[in-house]
Amino acid sequence: MANPLPQPVERENYLNKEYGVWSWLLTTDHKRIALLYLLSITFFFFIGGFFALLIRLELLTPAGDLVQADTYNKLFTMHGMVMVFFFLIPSIPAVLGNFLVPLMVGAKDLAFPRINLLSWYLYIIGGVMMLHCMLTGGVDTGWTFYAPFSTAFTNTKIVEAGLAIFVAGFSSILTGLNFVVTIHRMRAPGMTWSRLPLFIWAHYATSIIQLLGTPVIAITIVLVAAERTLHLGIFDPKLGGDPLLFQHLFWFYSHPAVYIMILPAMGVVTEIIACFSRKRIFGYHFVALSSIAIAVFGFLVWAHHMFVAGISIYAALVFSFLSYAVAVPSAIKVFNWTATLYKGSIHYDAPMLYAFGFLGLFTIGGLTGLFLAALGIDVHVTDTYFVVAHFHYIMVGGAVMGYLGGMHFWWPKISGRLYPEGWARLAALIVFIGFNLTFFPQFILGYMGMPRRYYDYSHMPEFQVLNVLSTAGATVLGVGYLLPMIYFLWSMRYGKPAPDNPWNAAGLEWKTTSPPPTFNFEEEPVVTWEAYNYDELDAPHPQEVPVAR
């Protein structure tokens, strides 16, 4: 185990069982598909990140001097589309979820392995269409596609971008379907619902949203394409349509989509906190059910994106109320995580640092949501940098922190290698500092009134100082994101081989080898314990490492 060089005789596992391109491209192994996703989403993450960097550089000075106005508009549009549809939505579910859901429930694979491969191909087809669209002109509507700008005014590639998202959406639907069926039907003997890791509960809730919400964005895209190409009057008032209808349809998916991004991250963080405080999760059932509550209530708050859009006062009232209702289960989670630390035995390994980062940033992101849900304040801060800061705190501070924490936590299982702990802790710190430096100034900018999606702010040079801070932060953040990619790649070749359970963590995924064999378990596991049985794990021999039977 201590040999730093690749072992000459490795146990057979999912990585070394077969070699060659086709063994990957035609695989139905959920773990290999997870790695295919990992590669693809990392690619899109760096494309989206590159756009973000150009946006921040442009905003360094008030005048529009780095790129053309149209280029800038395409940059923020494609940053949003790539990050939302091709990175954040697939990130944790398609990589960590794909890898871990069967392992955690004690199954050999997902319920539909070939459909799982199909979803990756759909994602890739969508991704290639998006790349083609970007390389041949791109889109300038903002990722929100608001009509009638998108249907009648812009001359950019709306239909192509829409179809790319349409296709990628099916990938998301099929992944959700696979998870729901797997969690219902393929749990190992003894793995009852109340013994499931909370990661699984979070993914179950996420999958429900993917299944029910994604078809709505698909049909919305079809309607946009129909109006744009066939001039059917749906959204454009000149053709007898209603532009607010578009916003209702769009946000009916795109608000729950935020929960597609954050719920899995909550699941990851729950696992990490339990492991590194060596404790069962405080209030297991409340944390589990709060995921379901978020998924359900999440469908009822979409019009809080539309308080100034021209909806009636009374509709706004209802949606404001419901938005506060959905805040309660999120608050419950934060309190339970905090309470889990109480009387724990807390270790500060890299995954835990990311989890702490998540807690801090998600708390700020969530609480600033209270500002936006307050009708009177939303009128002032909506469509400003306040909103930009708020949703980045949730989607980047929350979801990406959770994703990185999860990647560090399960990397030894995925790759069979250990990453350099010191570098990983440093990266966590850099990401946290860089993130706050980038996005905290944007809250202030927003309350000062700087509208989002502004290419040129020479009319209001007073906004420059905060923009410079934000750009400086973005470069720090960029370094923070590059580091893990470098040392993860490094570890694949030079990292120490990982033991089966390096963290002495609970959960079935740690009871098999690192990396796991193709069918996950040599023998079907039988579960007789509750999730997070750290008391038992720590009891007899603190260094005990359960091995595969």
Binding site: F149, K279, V328, I332, N336, A339
Partner: protein, 320 residues
Amino acid sequence: MAGRVDALYIFLLIVCGMMTLLIFVCLIYFAARYRYRPGVRAEQIEGSTPLEIVWSTIPFLVFMVIFGWGAVVYFQERTPPRDATEVYVVAKQWMWKLEHAEGQREINELHVPVGQDVKMIMTSQDVIHSFFVPAFRIKQDVLPGRYTVAWFRATKPGVYHLFCAEYCGTQHSGMVGDVVVMEPAQYEAWMNGGSTGPLSATGEKVFAELGCSTCHRADAQGRGPNLQGVFGKPVQLEDGRTLVADENYIRECILDPGAKRVKGFQPIMPTFQGLVSEEQVNALVAYIKSLSPAKPAAAGADKTSASTDANRNSEGSQVE
């Protein structure tokens, strides 16, 4: 209005600051106090239903206070006072066209007197825009095909930013302007330069030019409804519904006359969609509103522009 929004904002900052502090202090204290020590094992705790109830209920109650307060502020933001002066706003890629009820036209600039309630009746010629004046804490999307309304009362003279806050294409960030808040006397002087007469008078001309008056006669004999006094009154529709004739209804009747036809009239009116500009629609709306004597002050009374002028002069002289 800015004060009311800021008060709620500060309240939220305090409440959320306290919540953040509570969570962060617990996190940091637990993280330090219960850090790993060799030989010390974590104490397993199942959870606590009473605690769960407490930390669900208390935040919920706090949220409800915020919700209620936010709703009250929103109602104020969304309900223009009855005697506000009116400005018609037409947004287009990428400029703001503003027309005062008194007839002054401006582009990307809005002059208003201090202390006066100003109601903006807004529509867009093309895509969705959003009228945003950060200093007044107001924002309202401006939609094509209908009117939306916003209002403010400036309390301090000065020049304030006017932004388009809804992304609208290439020069979105160039769709900015200024709201110039002036002392009433200065405003008077500004007002008296370059007016083309009240908007309702322009509307009256358009009304005659388009031949509206052949059917919409001031007696009960016309083939169309008599428009005298119709604004702000309930209207009985052919399909049995009743609605109040507001700006949006009048606008819709001009552009899509068949949609909400008045009871007892034949569907003979042609649509004026594409035949009249947004400015002409605004003028027609202003004219039809001026036919409604029920509305007492300001813009409603600009049918008799002389009296409005008189009011203005007296106001001006008081300041002088």
